[in-house]
């Protein structure tokens, strides 16, 4: 590492948002350093060889809402960006039946009619209605949100522009947006569909990563958020990156370094150095200091405001807001190395159903009951599982003929009543495996290796407080104007030169890069003015 420890900008945390932020800053010529606590960058988006020859996406596993402009502006293709299509969603049912949706619209209609003739055109209508809301909302994801507390003329113009945008929407689109943003996924879906399996499969997007059930108000917002993805122009589609999400963050790291950025690994930051209300640099836990007039925290709001700096330096209303900012992680992972693909009895020897999401959560009641357990402080006895066998799409992730399975599990509340995760880790793993066994008889015989990742592990390893996968809950009082706190939703902090760009800022979590990008835009704008 350079002996000169002075930079134009320092980013604390090499998750994907830190990398995106750093790349935008470095691209404009700022001498930029990313400081990462672990031995690799990527944060929650990494790929690790946890069993010889098997590559695991330990935490996040699918490339979801990545903003298309980031791919272009950071020239990611040049550095190996390669999203692979996820072909299908496979939802097994208790009675041996299933729902299998893919890329062919006509085939999907036929498949849905197997379950409900009514739902065939209802599905087309639903997709169209949701896509129209997505198109209306997208500009909000791609712009710095207005500061609702400010009377600054520029902010008033921003508010006016937003109001104009809303007024220009067709009333039906606006109303659907409100139904989604304020209501429950269950209510919204009930308004379209009869089929239980179809509703439950779609509703699962409304609970991912969040402590809500599909019948809770607020699950509509989570559902909508997850629909904002697009890959290769397929609206609401998700992809696997070649080499998993770790493959993607390595691409980001190469882009960052190609612009002259430097990365310092195994360097936990202890504090942000300030003087006279200004950021001056950072100090590592071992005492090493780096200087910069721009310091960006790519961590979550609790760490940004309450740990990296002295809360005493901050306005007390901000400290209060951050103290009550909800994390309450409820998701876990159970990842497997498998000797082969499991079989679903009704599909005989077929394996192509596993080339996308395998969604175990066959009824609305199943999902809601899984949530009930979490409400009272325990993990679901019958958990919801989102399984992906990435090696079916990217054969380089497992030895020939073998497979990896990423299992995303809900609900697994961070706080367990009367026990703790170090005690419960493997019994929880057994619970999940039992559900898999009940759908795929013989599953257990295929298991070569199992890796249980609890919310506590997420917090310990990645640093996401309470294991919340999005760097803070997706609840209306914590979004947009209020993410992470009213008055501080524009990536700045009360400490001049100190910025935030993690998933706890607008728009929020997922491998989307928008917080990192928008924060860079704010920093560069402030630079011009200073």
């Amino acid at each position: 590492m350079a002996t000169d420890r002075t930079y134009d900008a320092i980013i604390v945390g090499g998750g994907h948002n830190g990398l995106v932020n750093g790349a935008y800053l470095a691209k404009t010529g700022l001498k930029t350093l990313i400081i990462e606590r672990r031995h690799l960058v990527g944060g929650a988006a990494i790929t690790e060889e946890l069993h010889p020859g098997f590559l695991f996406t330990t935490f996040s596993y699918a490339l979801s809402l990545l903003r298309p402009d980031i791919i272009q502006e950071l020239e990611l293709v040049k550095h190996g960006f390669k999203p692979l299509l996820m072909e299908s969603t496979f939802a097994p049912m208790h009675d041996g039946n299933y729902l299998l949706l893919g890329q062919d619209h006509q085939a999907n209609i036929a498949e849905i009619r197997r379950h409900s003739k009514h739902d065939a055109d209802a599905y087309a209508q639903y997709s169209h209605d949701v896509n129209r809301v997505c198109r209306a909302i997208k500009p909000l994801l791609d712009n710095i949100p207005p500061d609702i507390t400010s009377r600054d003329p520029e902010e008033l113009i921003r508010m006016a522009t937003l109001a104009q945008h809303m007024r220009d929407l067709e009333p039906a689109v606006l109303h659907n947006a409100v139904r989604l943003l304020t209501g429950s996924a269950a209510d919204f879906l009930d308004d379209y569909f009869d089929s239980e399996i179809l509703k439950a499969t779609l509703a699962s997007s409304g609970i991912i990563g969040t402590k809500v059930g599909p019948m809770s108000q607020g699950s509509g917002l989570v559902l909508l958020y997850h629909k904002m993805g697009e890959h290769d122009g397929d609206q609401s589609s998700w992809a696997f990156h070649k080499g998993g999400n770790g493959g993607f963050t390595q691409v980001l790291a190469r882009a960052f370094e190609s612009y002259g950025g430097e990365i310092s690994l195994e360097s936990p930051v202890a504090t942000v150095i300030t003087s006279n209300g200004r950021a001056r640099g950072v100090a590592l836990e071992d005492g090493t200091e780096f200087k910069a007039d721009i310091v960006v925290s790519a961590l979550d709001p609790r760490r940004t405001f309450l740990e990296l700096v002295d809360p005493g330096e901050l306005p007390s209303d901000l400290v209060e807001n951050i103290s009550r900012f909800r994390f309450q992680g409820t998701s876990a992972k159970v990842n497997f190395a498998l000797d082969g693909l499991p079989k679903y009895p009704a599909l005989g020897n077929r394996g192509d159903q596993f080339r996308g999401f395998t969604n175990i959560g066959p009824t609305m009641d199943y999902l809601e009951r899984a949530f009930d357990d979490a409400k009272y402080g325990w993990y679901s006895k019958q958990p919801y599982i989102d399984a992906c066998f990435q090696s079916t799409i990217d054969p380089d992730m497992a030895p020939p003929g073998k497979h990896v399975m990423s299992g995303f599990i809900q609900y697994a509340p961070y706080d367990l009543k009367g026990s703790d995760w170090d005690t419960e880790r493997e019994t929880f793993g057994d619970t999940v495996q039992a559900v898999l066994e009940s759908h795929f008889p013989g599953f257990g015989d295929l298991v070569l290796h199992r890796e249980v990742v609890t919310p506590l592990d997420i917090e310990r390893v990645v640093g996401l407080s309470e294991g919340n996968i999005f760097g803070g809950e997706f609840l209306a009082p914590q979004m947009f104007f209020f993410r992470p706190a009213p008055g501080w939703n524009q990536y700045r902090t009360p400490i001049e030169g100190y910025y935030q760009c993690g998933s706890g800022t607008h728009p929020g979590g997922c491998v989307m890069g928008a917080p990192g990008k928008l924060a860079a835009a704010q920093i560069l704008k402030d630079q011009q003015h200073s």
Binding site: P68, D69, I71, Q72, L76, V77, F81, K82, P83, L84, L85, E87, G102, Q103, D104, A107, N131, R135, D232, G233, D234, Q235, K242, D352, R355, S391, T392, I393, D394, P395, P400, G401
Partner: protein, 398 residues
């Protein structure tokens, strides 16, 4: 009468979509599964197998075979030694392309030429007194393309010699009991091979290859995925990007090799005295200049978005090749070229097209506008000339 290739028993069982096209009179699978893009990803990411048997295949042999071909083919066949292959074309007297194909030199006196259209009469009419026999073996020989980064690993399990086979090299070998010719050729722009085998051994070879590939995620792919891959590879396609001069009505519909980006085929024309058909016309064109030059086109991603968004639409990103032509304009709104084969490329993450432009505009980086039809009006989207191939992985030739 529709005909079936030697692999049909297998392709029929695999084609869950039951979608077929007619290709040279044979049934050819459009796609085997509901998503052609998935088959395309197999080519780019693991491996795919493609029944390319409907190609016309000619065995050209005799003591004068080299002399004969040297007088017909635009590219210098003398430089193709036994065990090598060439992508080649043949032109008419005016230097317009009749067709293209791949020729494998099996020995000093024996060649195997594969083409998309029938050519027997044209070639036979030009044998004259030379010692050459041309045999149309199209119906006797099946062809199986195995393409993608893992194709080498898969085929090496069957034929160890494949490991040492260079780009555009070929060898005779055996798969089980079946004698085959295997060439490191293909139409995908990726690492890949084509296996030529007599019909009666076809199924055995298909089975052996499919079995070797199973553990590597290999999938059968149809013509749709092939046609996506070939655009990214920058490979022009007859009847899409150019027409055969034999059947064109006007010269506007004809294309010369210098116009189709194939200058490299005749780069050595100066120290090569072959009197091949079209030679004089090409020499003239080299002096006088060409009407068009071939270029790749990258569509401006931001402008594509803006233009559609302004029209109230979600910008389409269709990976299915658009076969129709779009006119290109310069900054003063003058038509200066045309684009063919427009598609959204998953590898490039942009819309790409193969285009012909006025020669002075061919340098990479020129800004043009491409016409698109949106909401029943003609509108323009910014585009930039670029070198092809659009996608050129190192393993293609390594």
């Amino acid at each position: 009468m529709v005909r079936y290739t030697a692999f049909h028993d297998r392709t029929k069982a695999l084609n869950t979509t039951e979608l077929w096209s007619h290709w040279a009179g044979y049934l050819a699978a459009d796609r085997y599964q509901l998503s052609e893009k998935f088959e395309y990803f197999a080519i780019r990411n693991s491996a795919g197998m493609f029944d390319t048997s409907p190609l016309y295949k000619y065995r050209i042999q005799g003591s004068d075979a080299e002399t004969f071909l040297a007088g017909l083919l635009t590219r210098n066949i003398r430089k193709c030694r036994p065990g090598n292959a060439q992508y080649t074309i043949w032109c008419d007297d005016n230097g317009f392309i009749i067709e293209d194909g791949v020729i494998i030199r099996l020995s000093e006196t024996e060649f195997l030429l594969s083409t998309a259209e029938p050519n027997l009469a044209y070639f036979e009419d030009r044998i004259g007194r030379l010692q050459v026999i041309i045999e149309d073996i199209s119906d006797d020989v099946a062809a199986l393309a195995v393409q993608g980064p893992r194709s080498k690993t898969i085929l090496t399990e069957l034929i160890p010699d494949v490991a040492g086979l260079g780009y555009f090299q070929s060898t005779e070998a055996k798969i089980g009991d079946a004698p085959v010719v295997i060439s490191r050729t293909g139409f995908t722009g990726d690492l890949g091979y084509e296996i030529w085998v007599k019909n009666d051994h076809g199924l055995a070879v298909w089975d052996a290859v499919a079995q070797a590939g199973e553990r590597y995620g290999m999938l059968p792919f149809g013509t749709t995925a092939l046609l996506m891959a070939r655009i990214e590879a920058g490979l022009a396609l007859i009847d899409v990007d150019f027409s055969s001069s034999r059947y064109a009505w006007t010269d506007a519909d004809r294309t010369t090799p210098l116009e189709l980006g194939l200058e490299w085929m005749v780069r050595d024309i100066g120290d090569d005295d072959r009197p091949f058909v079209g030679r004089r016309a090409l020499l003239r064109e080299m002096v006088a200049g060409s009407r068009w030059k071939l270029t790749g086109l990258l569509i401006d991603w931001r402008n594509w978005f803006e233009v559609y968004d302004r029209n109230g639409l979600v910008p389409p990103k269709d990976h299915l090749p658009n076969g129709s032509e779009s006119i290109l304009y310069d900054a003063t709104d003058q038509p200066v070229g045309y684009a063919t084969s427009l598609m959204y490329s998953p590898m490039v993450q942009r819309h790409i097209a193969i285009a012909r432009v006025q020669p002075e505009l061919v340098a990479p980086g020129n800004q043009l506008n491409m016409e698109v039809t949106i909401n029943h009006t003609w509108q323009q989207v910014k585009a930039q000339t670029t070198r092809m191939p659009f996608y050129n992985p190192p393993h293609k030739t390594a």
